[in-house]
């Protein structure tokens, strides 16, 4: 554990539910928050002890909406973190909703050691936010960026494209607005709508799958054509590239030196511990996850937790797929050394199979996705899996 681990802390609470979201989320009632934070503290202490109080190299507080927490709650979370881990992080990110930020909260997070704020902007247009079922207003984003800058944080902006009714002009305008705010980092995700109730998590009373499904079906009908969405992705590459951002992962752009260290840990197949409902871990080559249901998570926390091991894990396939997501690509000799010749042969076969479509480029020992390959990455990925 010399290198240290990544630590992901999941705060599921949201003021309202975004209908496209499949993360573990829950209504932010104060009673539920209290119970949850206590459980989180207990889990951190136990896991920290089990791992010998490891050094936390990067910390990421995601959600949900961590920015909803009140300053005393943030302080108690910080206390629990310090108790459980050797907390000397190079990067601490917290996710925030543009409408929930105020100076008191930002100060509380700064005291915890936050260095980076990830803002769920999604769109700068009122009709875009409406189409996505977001409750904040367009002007909230600029204000939130300004407040984050004042607090001394690096800033990431999350943007979503391909929402129902979005035009190419809409998207160009959103990119321009984002660049105008000069963030250090930007993530652009095409709207991915899944109709699988298993994947959607319902910790929300009354708002079951049927409501979500209806919304998603309508949204799917209203989404721009696949060709248009692909064009939007290319547009993001052009506009952000020209503004000086490096496209370092399929959906992520950063100014020099501003890549997300925590997320790089995922893609480089490093070790991390995830705590909280629905949080995933990758430790000693084993992937595991907490239940996404809050009831289940809270109910089992006192009896040692309900972490489930991913028995279907395919380490070589996953490592290759994750590496190819990055612009640095896959280093073949190192991959062969780590996973052996059989795994390497599978990669070779995948390379050959997609060669006519020019999804991959080989330079020296490295394989990388081409621009076309980034848009059709699944065609490569499925061939890397066993």
């Amino acid at each position: 554990m010399t290198r240290g681990i990544g630590l992901y802390v999941h705060i599921p609470f949201c003021a309202s539910r975004c209908p496209y979201c499949d993360f573990a989320t829950a209504p932010a009632t104060s009673a539920l928050r209290g119970r949850y934070l206590a459980a989180l503290a207990e889990e951190m202490l136990r896991e920290g002890r089990a791992l010998g109080r490891p050094r936390v190299r990067t910390l990421y507080v995601g959600g949900g909406t961590p920015s909803l927490l009140e300053p005393p709650e943030v302080a108690s979370l910080a206390e629990a973190l310090r108790r459980a881990f050797d907390l000397r992080p190079r990067e601490v990110t917290v996710e925030a909703n543009p409408a929930t930020l105020d100076r008191a909260r930002l100060a509380a997070w700064r005291d915890v050691g936050v260095t980076r704020l990830s803002l769920g902007v999604q769109s700068f247009s009122a009709h875009g936010l409406r189409a996505l079922g977001r409750t904040h207003q367009p002007e909230d984003s600029a204000a939130a960026v300004a407040a984050a800058r004042d607090a001394g944080f690096d800033v990431n902006l999350d943007l979503i494209f391909g929402w129902p009714g979005q035009t190419e002009d809409d998207w160009r305008a959103d990119l321009r607005s984002a660049i105008a705010l000069a963030p250090d980092h930007a993530s652009c995700y095409p709207l991915e709508l899944r109709l699988d109730p298993e994947e959607a998590v319902a910790n929300w009373p009354g708002g079951g799958w049927r409501v979500l499904e209806r919304w998603r079906r309508d949204a799917l009908d209203g989404q721009p054509d696949e060709r248009v969405v692909a064009g939007m992705y290319r547009q993001a590459e052009r506009q952000l590239g020209m503004a000086g951002y490096r496209h370092y992962e399929i959906a992520n752009w950063a100014r020099p030196g501003k890549r997300s260290l925590h997320n790089l840990g995922y893609w480089r197949d490093r070790e991390w511990l995830g705590v909280g409902a629905g949080a995933h871990s990758h430790l000693a080559g084993v992937r595991s996850a907490n239940p996404t249901s809050l009831t289940e998570y809270l109910g089992k926390i006192h009896t040692g937790g309900a972490r489930v091991i991913d028995t279907g894990a395919d380490a070589p396939g996953e490592a290759a797929m994750l590496a190819l997501r990055l612009d640095s690509g896959l280093d073949l000799p190192r991959y062969t050394a780590r996973f052996g010749t059989a795994a390497a042969a599978r990669v070779r076969r995948a390379i050959d199979e997609v060669a006519p479509a020019r999804l991959l480029r080989i330079t020296g020992d490295r394989v990388r996705l081409t621009a076309k390959g980034r848009l059709l990455a699944n065609e490569v990925f499925i061939r890397l899996l066993a």
């Binding site: 995601g62 991915e192 696949e226 279907g312 006519p356 848009l375 899996l385």
Partner: protein
């Protein structure tokens, strides 16, 4: 049945020439007092001069006799092999038969054949030995011969299954004789022999017993390993003393519809082969042989009684044997007359010879009978017109239902005709058809090219006038069924190398899981695995993935052409 009817006995006498049948008949007439003794003359029933001359009976005739409150109708039958038809006609009128054997001659072949005919028609057979007063006869030998020879030892196989330990287990009904463990048995259609390892009954679980007697139903472990050797409908007999003729019931299947069966994954070929062998054990009408397709690799060309049979077999293979398979478009058997005058049977469109060498192609025509409410005759007639059918007859079964008789090519019948018939009649029409004849037709092969390569499994033989339109429909249909790939895929229909229709499946533009779910690699992997599973169900033809449904598309184009 009235009391009077219960006392009627219609019977005949089965005997070889000169074994004394006519004499027995004469004595019956005499004993029952039907003909007064003073009017009796020899060969009373053989009235034809020719019959008396030859001492044989040619025409069947009947005489009524009264005996102890019973009415006995003796139906005299010809005994000679040339008059089998006459025999079967008279047998059909009887409930019983006297089997008459000359004690000095024993049982003759023709007697046996007629006796079998009688048994097949369900007649009660009463053996009788004649001329027992002749010198130098051994009555016991003849009696034993009758007992064993006419004991038949025949069991009908009505079902069967494969048991990993016992081999092929036949479900039988014993018709004549008995079966016991250790008997050496023979299957009459396949001429296979083996030792009977175990027999028993179902209670309802299999319970071994020692013997199965006439009339009993049970199972027989044949010890056979090849399921093809034991077919439903076959007759099981004893190898030492085999029955002379099998029980009715087994007919070698006469397939009408043919299709290629291929495993979705080439490595599953042994699985499919095994599954088809096992299925044939239960389905004697399924016939197949190995076949190779350029597009689909190794598979089988199978023959079916009809389209429903095809669908059932496909479904059973997939459900009971868990084989993912691709069925090619069904075809009938065409007769191709070549320039050299040779006749070639073609049941696979891909095998059609070079058009330049073909003088004529003939296709099977069927006599089709449709019964339909009179209110729906119009739509049915319109439908029939689109199927090259010609109306042969129309009549009324009753005031509300009409019976339409059509002559129609089988290829049209198997192309979705039944479904269309049902929908044109709100489900009320019923359909029956039988083979009529082969007729010449203007037929051509329509090829489908995917990314420039002919997919032989998609070729169909179709009427020349209709080929271009069918090509357009098919290509359009395939465009909707073939998913977007990493590159544009052109789909074309061609007749003799000339493209008659073309469409393009545009390359997919975006297929990527972009969102980073807090390190949730498991979810990403599962989604990708699902996608990969979907791909596996598709067939790689060259570098193009073609889903199974595409191969069925040809089946469902009937209503659009």
């Amino acid at each position: 049945m009235s009391p009077l009817q219960q006392r009627i006995r219609n019977f005949c006498v089965i005997a070889h020439v000169d074994h004394g049948k006519t004499t027995l008949s004469d004595r019956l007439l005499e004993t029952t007092g039907t003909v007064p003794l003073r009017q009796m003359r020899d060969q009373m029933l053989d009235s034809m001069e020719l019959e008396r001359e030859h001492g044989i009976t040619i025409k069947a005739r009947a005489v009524r006799m009264g005996w102890r409150d019973h009415e006995l109708n003796l139906i005299d039958t010809p005994g000679h092999v040339d008059f089998t038809y006459e025999v079967s006609r008279s047998l059909a009128a009887c409930e019983g038969a006297v089997l008459l054997v000359d004690a000095s001659q024993g049982i003759e072949a023709q007697t046996l054949a007629n006796a079998y005919l009688a048994v097949e028609q369900g007649l009660e057979v009463i053996p009788a030995i004649n001329k027992i007063d002749l010198p130098n006869i051994d009555l016991d030998v003849v009696r034993e011969e009758l007992r064993t020879t006419l004991g038949f030892r025949r069991s009908l196989i009505f079902d069967s299954h494969y048991d990993a330990y016992k081999g092929v287990v036949a479900h039988v009904r014993v018709f004549d004789g008995a079966l016991k463990t250790g008997d050496r048995i023979r299957l009459m259609a396949t001429e296979r022999e083996s030792e009977l390892l175990e027999l028993g009954v179902f209670l309802p679980d299999a319970r071994p017993i020692e013997r199965l007697e006439t009339g009993e139903t049970g199972y027989v472990a044949t010890g056979l390993k090849a399921v093809a050797d034991c077919r439903v409908g076959d007759t099981l007999t004893l190898a030492e003393r085999p029955a002379a003729a099998p029980l009715p019931g087994y007919r070698p299947a006469k397939p009408m519809v043919f299709a290629g069966f291929y495993p979705s994954n080439a490595q599953d070929y042994p699985l499919l082969k095994d599954a088809m062998e096992k299925l044939r054990l239960n389905d004697a009408s399924l016939v197949y042989e190995p076949e190779t397709s350029q597009a689909l690799g190794f598979g089988f060309r199978a023959g079916f009684l009809g389209l429903l049979h095809l669908e059932i077999v496909q479904e059973r293979l997939e459900r009971e044997y868990d084989v993912d398979l691709i069925a090619t478009s069904p075809s009938v058997e065409y007769r191709v007359i070549t320039q050299t005058g040779a006749e070639v049977a073609i049941d696979n469109p891909a095998m059609l010879p070079d058009p330049g060498t073909i003088l004529e192609i003939r296709e099977p025509w069927m006599k089709v009978t449709i019964i339909v409410p009179t209110t729906h005759v119009g739509p049915i007639m319109e439908l029939a017109q689109t199927k090259r059918a010609s109306l042969a007859d129309m009549s009324y079964v009753d005031p509300t239902r009409a019976m339409l008789k059509y002559d129609m090519p089988l290829s049209e019948v198997i192309l979705d005709f039944y479904d269309q018939l049902k929908s044109s009649s709100r489900g009320y029409a019923s359909l029956d058809y039988e083979f009529a004849e082969y007729r010449p037709a203007e037929l051509v092969r329509l090829d489908i090219l995917v990314a420039g390569t002919i997919v032989d499994a998609l070729s169909i033989i179709t009427h020349r006038d209709r080929a271009p339109q069918t090509g357009r429909v098919l290509v359009n249909k395939l465009r909707g069924l073939i998913p977007r790939q990493m590159f544009d895929v052109r789909i074309q229909a061609a007749i003799g190398g000339k493209v008659v229709a073309s469409e393009t499946v545009k390359a997919k533009r975006k297929d990527v899981l972009a969102k980073c779910y807090g390190g949730d690699i498991t979810r990403k992997r599962k989604l990708l695995e699902k996608q990969k599973e979907g791909k596996k169900r598709m067939k790689m033809v060259g570098s193009v993935e073609i889903p199974q449904e595409a191969f069925l598309a040809v089946l469902r184009i009937g209503d659009e052409t």
